[in-house]
Each structure stands twice: as C-alpha cells, then as structure tokens.
C-alpha cells in the first residue's frame, strides 16, 4: 500500500511537470502577443518592446520555462499580466465558489442519476425503463451552455422561481449545479442501471426474496448498497469533467469561480492566469483519479492495488 502510494504520487508529480511543460509550450507558440495586449492598442513599438523585456518575453523558450518552473516549485504561480496580483491569490479567492459548485453538481448527478438508474433497473424492459434511458441519452447529448440557458429561461425568466445569476445564496446555487450535474447524471443512470441489474441477479438477493422479504426491502436493504458502491468510486474521475464544464457553466451563470477567471484571462491573453488555472485543474484531475483508484479496493476487497 505504502509503496503503491509513493509510486502513484511520484507518477502524479511527473504528469504535472509534463502538463506544465506542454501548456507552457502551447502558450509559447500561439500567435497571440501578450505584450501588445498589455501595452494597449495605441502603444508604439518601443513601448511594446519594453513591456516584452520587462516580462522576460524576449528570452528563449527554455529560459522562460526554467524561470517559471523555478518559481513553481516554491509555490509561486507568478503574477497576472494585467491585474498585477498574484495568480495563486486570485485562484485561492475564486476556488471556494468553484468547489461549492462542484459539491452541488455531485449532489445533483448522484440524486438524479442514481434514482433514474435504480428505477430503470427495477422496471427493466418496461416503458419506464426505455423512457429513462432515452432521458439519460439526452443528458449526455446536451451541451452545458444549452442546458444552462434553457434552465435560466424556464426557471429564471418564465416561471420566475430562481434568480438569473448572482452568488451568495442557496437559490443561486441550484441552476448552475443542475447544469453542471446533468452530464454526469446521464452517465450515472446508465452505470447504476447495469450495476443494479447485476446485483439483482446475485444469489443473496434471490435468498432474501426466497425468505419472503418484501420486494422493496430487498431492493433497499440488499441490492442498493451493493449496486452503489462501484459507482461511488467514479466520483473522483468526474472531477476531470467538472474542470472542463466549469468554464462554460460559470460563464453562463456569471459564477465567480476559477472557470470564469480562466475565461476572462483567455480573452485578455493573461498567460500566467491561464497557466495557473490549467495546473490547478490538472492537479485536481490527477488527485481525483488517484482517489478513485484508492477507493475501489476499499469497496471491493477482491480488487488488489498493483
């Protein structure tokens, strides 16, 4: 276990170094010029050149990367080109909102997805099952910006039940969470359905039924806990999908998280922020995957870590 953990952590660090190198390289070769962006449209070529020198943008690629990496190992993500504040502070101030949104999304995808999958498995082959599976297909086929705008229209504008944007109240959290969670709900309902169908075929379920236990009790007491376990391990992997989704969802709802921070930085070619958010996302994804791999053997002792 300990050696496994050490090896996985070392691998994760290597992956993160790789991500930083690749991102840095990609941002190096893009034709957008941050110096011109900072200096402003009317700046003379000399001014632009000065800005470039000041930020070290005139150095060759490897020197720039080494300088960045040198700061990075000390936990310094650099300073924003335009806001002049530390990237780490900007991200730290936005992170709680994003985490809150993710918790909301996990809650939504689990409640919606697991309920749908459970019902579909129990009434397997029926009209209900078919309807639920079509719904789950729609869930994985609907782009988040469309879901977000339509939910905003229905619940925010037409019915007027929920606020259109904003942050700080529970009501603000509902629509963004549902929007971010719908994709996962689609996947979870399908996984839950197949997991539940497998469990319902197990001997212990048959035994429980044979003892004369009520069908609902069999499902809730015996089948459900065993069907849910393998799915819980997937939550870690979801973090990757969330890290992609937040950019869209936060920009649709004006949610003040790191997705919006990244989106604003992209529009202004604020490269340190883009680097910072990418690295934080990659870290979250790597940790999420590690978590998923660690949880699996705890749930199912037949699976051994290698």
């Amino acid at each position: 276990m300990a050696t496994y953990l050490v090896r996985r952590l070392l691998q994760s660090i290597l992956i993160l170094i790789g991500v930083s190198l690749v991102t840095f390289f990609l941002l190096y070769i893009v034709p957008a010029d941050p110096a011109r962006q900072i200096a402003g449209r009317s700046a003379t070529p000399e001014v632009v050149e000065n800005v470039r020198k000041e930020l070290g943008l005139d150095l060759p690629f490897y020197q720039r990367y080494l300088r960045y990496a040198d700061h990075l190992v000390r936990g310094d993500l650099g300073r924003s080109y335009l806001q002049k504040s530390r990237v780490s502070e900007l991200i730290a101030s936005r992170l709680p909102a994003t985490l809150l949104l993710m918790v909301g999304a996990i809650f939504c995808e689990l409640t919606i997805g697991l309920t749908m999958g459970l019902l579909a498995a129990v009434w397997r082959g029926s009209r209900i099952d078919q309807a639920l599976m079509v719904m789950s297909f729609i869930g994985v086929s609907a782009p988040q910006f469309v879901v977000g705008i339509i939910l905003l229209y229905i619940f925010g504008v037409y019915l007027g039940w929920l606020p259109i944007g904003g942050y700080g109240h529970f009501a603000n959290l509902i629509l963004p969470s549902v929007t971010l969670g719908i994709l996962g709900a689609g996947w979870y309902s399908r996984m839950m359905r197949s997991s539940m169908i497998d469990v319902l075929r197990e001997d212990y379920v048959r035994t429980a039924r044979a003892k004369g236990m009520a069908p609902a009790t069999v499902i809730v007491r015996h089948a459900l806990p065993n069907a849910i376990l393998p799915i819980v391990a997937m939550i870690g992997i979801d973090i990757g999908y969330f890290m992609s989704g937040i950019v869209v969802v936060e920009s649709v709802f004006g949610w003040p998280g790191i997705g919006q921070l990244a989106w604003q930085a992209i529009q202004r070619v604020d490269i340190p922020i883009i680097m910072g958010v990418t690295l934080v996302s990659a870290l979250a994804i790597v940790l999420g995957n590690l978590l998923a791999d660690l949880i699996t053997p705890m749930i199912d002792p037949r699976i051994k870590l290698r």
Binding site: V30, V140, F145, I149, S244, S251, A262, I266, T278, A282
Partner: protein, 316 residues
C-alpha cells in the same frame, strides 16, 4: 473472404451473443458484417430514430442551397419588427428571424454543414491519430510504447475543454483551426481503448498460433489485429462525432469557434443570447438541433457497441 450480405445468416451472428465472446481468426468480410449490422440495427427503434436524424441533417447540409427558403446571410427588409426586434415563427419565416432579421431556418440549415464538416474532419483526424498511437503502443511494445502511453496519460490530465478553448482563442479561430483543436484533445480516449484492445488481441490464441507458424509482424498486424479493431474504431468513431459536435457548438457559443457570418449552431446561440428572454426560439431551435444531432450519433454509436461487442450485451 468475398462473401455477400446474405452469405452469413443473421442467426449465426446472434448465437455469438449467448456463447463466449468468440473472435474468428479471420474477421468476416466487410460486406457480410455490414449486412448483419444493418439488420440488427433495424430491430432497435431508438437506433432507427438516431439514423433518421443523422440522415435528415446530412440531407439538409448537402442540399442546403436547394431547400433553404432564404439565403442565410440576407437581412430581410421585413425581418425585424418596427422596434427592431426579431420576428417570432410565422408562415413566412418558419422558425422566426434572428437579431439581424435573417431567416433562422436558413441559418440552421447552413449551420448543419458546419457541424458535420467539423464533426467528420475533426473526429476523422482524432480517430486516425488515436488508432495509430494505440496500435503502435499496443502491438510493438518496448520504449516507444512506454513513451506513447505516458504521453497519453499526460493528455488525460488536461482539462480538455479548457485546453481547447485556450488554443482556439489564441490561434485566430476559424473552421479548420477549430477542427484541429478538437482533434488534438479528442484522440486521447480512443488511443487508450485501442491500446488495451490491441494488447488483448495480441495475446489471443489465433495470434499466438500465427506467431508459432512463423508469420511476420506485418502479416499479423494487417491480417489479424487491424480487422479485429475495426468494430472498436467504428463504435468510438461514431460516439466521437457526438462529442465533436458538442465541442464545436460549445467553442462557437463562447465565440472562439467558427466565426460569424458563417452560421454554426453554437454561434447562432451566441449572437442571439441577449434576446433569449424576449425571443427564446432563437436559443431553443439551434439548441434542439445540437442536442438532436449529438443524440443521433450517441444512440447509433451505443447500438453499434451492443451489436458489435457481444460481451457488453444487456449491460446497458
């Protein structure tokens, strides 16, 4: 194996569903397989619906100049109200007009071209890269394999959409840049699937037997490995188009994808979203188009998976 569509009766195909996942040493000819796939597909109402949606969108894209009622870029003289707001759906403008007084239906029909071009091109590139990397790493092994798979792991740690947005925004966005960017983030999944598949195929008895009678690497690769990878490529290729369509729509919605005036379902929503409280059809119709097309490819891809991969039968 020159077998016609009728040479292999469907029943024989069905029997593999109940027995172990058998793989014949030599894959059946493409036409026989195709016939089986089509017949099994016809038995699934959902898959038939999916194919129908795809065919309608393809027809709309191909026949766009013939069937679209107006030009997608013409601003109609009566396309806006006196106050200058878009018109709701009517007999003249079936789906209404957009914020510039252009016919929404015509823009959606031409937008189908964008979605399909990006979907097919980007996904074609992604599938090619993914298959090439997956097969190379899985079949040849060694240092190259290790390097390729570590690189794939690395790409898995990227937030795909964020990467796509960054690249699309910072290169000057155009239809082809969008397609390239999507291909760059989408090959990873298929590379991993193909890698695993190739590894397991390489250990199968019929491949081991080929080695033992002295067959060459190239022969084994082209005669035994690649034909058996075809179903996987087909399934993930189809599902991948759905992902690509969604990604293109999202990038275009954010304004870093296909640029106006070229209509794309995503940029139509982007242009009109300020009107969505007063003219919701400007978001609903293009939104429905995106969902339907992605749904079509997802449903068909899933049906193909069930048909082509007996081990998965009944799991989903």
């Amino acid at each position: 194996m020159p077998t016609g569509p009728r040479a292999s009766p469907d029943k024989a195909g069905d029997m593999t569903l109940t027995t172990a996942p058998e793989v014949s040493p030599i894959a059946p000819g493409p036409s026989a397989r195709f016939g089986i796939i089509v017949r099994r597909m016809m038995r699934r109402p959902l898959a038939v619906a999916g194919v129908t949606v795809i065919l309608i969108v393809v027809a709309a894209a191909v026949l766009a100049p013939l069937i679209s009622p107006y030009s997608p870029s013409d601003q109609m003289f009566d396309g806006l109200t006196i106050e200058g707001s878009p018109l709701p759906p009517s007999a003249k403008y079936l789906l209404g007009t957009d914020l510039l007084g252009r016919d929404l239906l015509s823009r959606l029909i031409y937008g189908a071209r964008t979605s399909l071009i990006v979907g097919v091109v980007a996904n074609g590139i992604a599938v090619s890269i993914g298959t090439l990397i997956g097969v190379t790493a899985g079949f040849f092994g060694g240092v190259i394999s290790a390097l390729l798979m570590r690189f794939t792991d690395l790409m898995m740690a990227f937030p795909a959409l964020l990467l796509a947005i960054v690249l699309a925004a910072l290169f000057h966005p155009s239809l082809w840049i969008v397609a390239m960017v999507i291909a760059m983030v989408n090959w990873v999944q298929i590379a991993r699937v193909i890698y695993t598949e190739t590894r397991s195929l390489a250990e199968r008895e019929f491949v081991v037997a080929e080695w033992s009678i002295g067959a060459g690497r190239i022969r084994i690769l082209f005669r035994h490995i690649l034909p058996h990878l075809l179903p996987t490529v087909l399934v993930y290729g189809t599902l991948g188009i759905a992902t690509t369509v969604l990604l293109e729509a999202t990038l275009s919605f954010l304004g870093v994808g296909v640029q106006p005036p070229t209509p794309s379902w995503g940029n139509i929503i982007n242009e009109n979203q300020t009107y969505f409280t007063t003219a919701p059809w400007l978001v609903f119709f293009p939104g429905a188009a995106i969902i339907l097309l992605a749904l079509g490819f997802n449903v068909v891809g899933d049906a193909l998976r069930e048909i082509l991969d007996p081990t998965q039968k009944g799991r989903y």
